[in-house]
């Protein structure tokens, strides 16, 4: 299975909209939403069936048994995450606890234990296509681990599929790194703003770590022509394929709000995405020959 990952560094540049369009155009049989902090792809993929749900456990969290605790405070002194507080008794703030187990180890009274705690949910839609997604519980850490689970769930259920389309998350940190593992090609959706350019350069650096093929498309290119040209020049200088320009299009907003993909209606942004899709497929296939 080939994996195409859609990334951007900066949020809100159009990853999900483009992922949704690619899924339609490719009639994709396998896709996933790796933005487990703020998943949105399910809002436009229109699956009729209910998904199968699975609890996701991150790392266990520490728990202090007040009956056993003798109040020495060693746990609080040893915790690097500031997760243990004292107010009449010592207690763990589970949002800050990373589950390292140091407090359990250090406690002379054996009052601390690590307990499994749900940190989110995994969803699997499986009918004519396989769609793997998840939602991290608010305030939980370990989103990278959940992303890895989303991808594992996708791969296990769609082994025979030629191409998987994966919607990534913003940023360059642990969830993005987890989504990049095993990916053949990253399509970066850039925005022609000073922020968009800065963030694009950082995500390209991160994606290069993983040796994936990289292509860039420019969304809302007509917001700033000069910056659009800067992005194209940057790509040319760095030997990165620039696979197209997509215009700002208010028709895209209304299509999304109807739960439709922009390639299902005749609009400027949808037509531009079709061109981008064609070029991406070409690059992916070229890789197969090589």
């Amino acid at each position: 299975m080939k994996q195409l990952l859609i990334l951007s560094g900066k949020g809100g540049t159009g990853k999900t909209t483009i992922a949704g369009a690619f899924i339609k155009l490719h009639d994709a049989k396998a896709y996933a939403d790796c933005d487990v902090d703020a998943p949105n792809l399910h809002l436009i993929t229109r699956h009729k069936d209910m998904p199968t749900k699975k609890d996701y456990y991150g790392l266990p969290k520490a728990y202090i048994d007040a009956n056993l605790c003798m109040g020495c405070g060693l746990c609080q002194q040893s915790c690097r995450f500031g997760a243990i507080s004292y107010k009449d008794i010592y207690f763990v703030n589970i949002n800050a606890c990373e589950g390292c187990g140091v407090c359990e180890y250090i406690c002379p009274a054996h009052a601390v234990s690590l307990k499994e705690t749900p940190a989110g949910e995994l969803f699997l839609y499986k009918n004519e296509s396989v769609f793997s997604t998840a939602k991290l519980k608010m305030g939980s850490g370990t989103s990278g681990k959940l992303v890895a689970e989303v991808k594992k769930q996708l791969i296990e259920n769609a082994k025979e599929v030629d191409l998987a389309i994966i919607d990534g998350s913003p940023g360059i940190g642990c969830p993005v790194i987890a989504s990049l593992s095993g990916v053949d090609m990253s399509l970066i959706v850039a925005e022609p703003s000073v922020s968009g350019i800065s963030d694009m350069e950082r995500i390209i650096k991160t994606a290069r770590f993983f040796g994936t093929k990289i292509a860039v498309c420019i969304n809302k290119y007509d917001i700033n022509f000069l910056n659009t040209e800067k992005i194209e020049a940057f790509c040319a200088d760095n030997n990165i394929s620039c696979v197209g320009r997509i215009p700002y299009d208010s028709a895209a907003v209304s299509a999304i709000n109807r739960g439709e993909s922009i390639v299902e209606i005749d609009c400027a942004s949808g037509n531009a995405v079709k061109t981008v899709y064609g070029r991406v497929v070409e690059i992916l296939q070229k890789e197969i020959v090589l």
Binding site: G11, A38, R80, G101, V102, G141, I223, N224, N257
Partner: protein, 281 residues
């Protein structure tokens, strides 16, 4: 302790305009602080172009194994919950996934493990006209920006004035770190079903912390606004509606701060500032 008020600007979804709102509020206020907590993809400095007064490295502790002392018991490997240690002929560290808990050094019976500093990014303090800026940048390839965010927030502890905090997107631990001590939260939302869905998530988070909040509806166009409907259904105050406007889009995409330019709709930002000041005073 300083007597500052912290106004946290957040949104579940990325790209809704957090930086636009926080930068313009800080610039419109008298003497204020602007904190850029999006250390993975910081953008605030592109607008303020601050004169940097101070820059410091942020580091975390990682284990350093003295192979002459190591007895090969693998206690450290077994203890590490994050699988950051493995054992071949000697202990191997995957430093990118180390959480710096210090457990391995603690459990080593041979005292073969000490902790050394590893730089994960920088924090910089700068000034741009009336605004003092505090920002940070995480090195690419690092997993977590939290140590850098903690450093940024630490800086303003003893400072006075209004502090505008530009958050990273999402609702994960990294966002919680920024809103824990907020005096007021501004949620920025886009007029799409994506925007409304992520607004709902981040609103739940703010409720969890029991923080007062209001919503800025950004990029408003004619027609349906699912985010606006969500606010109405849940009785959330809409602080201001910023219409989609090519002029603002262009200013913003060039890294210009609207309230420092002659932008036609600047009263939007001033009315937002007044509303916020009313709540936090």
């Amino acid at each position: 302790m300083g007597t500052n008020k912290k106004i946290v600007v957040l949104s579940g979804k990325g790209g809704t305009g957090k930086t636009l709102v926080s930068v313009n509020l800080a610039a419109a206020d008298f003497d204020s602080y602007y904190l850029d907590c999006d250390v993975e993809e910081p953008n605030g400095h592109l607008y303020f172009k601050p004169q940097i007064l101070e820059e410091k490295n942020v580091s975390v502790l990682i284990p350093n194994v003295n192979n002459d002392l190591c007895i090969g018991c693998k206690k450290c490997v077994n203890f590490c919950q994050f699988n950051a240690l493995a054992f071949g002929k000697k202990v191997i560290l995957f430093k990118e996934i180390c959480h710096s808990c210090g457990g391995c050094a603690l459990v080593c019976p041979a005292h073969a493990i000490t902790e050394i500093e590893k730089t994960v990014g920088i924090v910089n303090i700068g000034i741009s006209e009336n605004v003092k800026t505090v920002g940070g940048i995480m090195n690419t390839g690092e997993a977590s920006g939290i140590p850098i965010i903690k450093n940024i927030l630490e800086y303003i502890k003893d400072k006075s004035g209004n502090v505008y905090i530009d958050c990273p997107p999402g609702s994960a631990c990294i966002v919680m770190e920024s809103i824990k001590d907020a005096d007021y939260c501004i949620l920025v939302a886009e007029p799409t079903i994506f925007g409304a869905h992520n607004l709902e998530m981040v609103y739940e988070l703010v409720k969890l912390f029991n923080k007062p909040c209001g919503v800025v509806l950004n990029k408003c166009t004619e027609g349906l606004n699912p985010s606006e409907e969500f606010c109405k259904e849940n009785n959330i105050e809409i602080l201001v509606q910023i219409p989609y406007d090519a002029e603002l889009g262009e200013l913003n995409s060039n890294g210009k701060i609207a309230v420092r330019e002659n932008y036609k709709n600047n009263e939007l930002f001033y009315s937002l500032l007044n509303k916020v000041k009313e709540v936090i005073k």
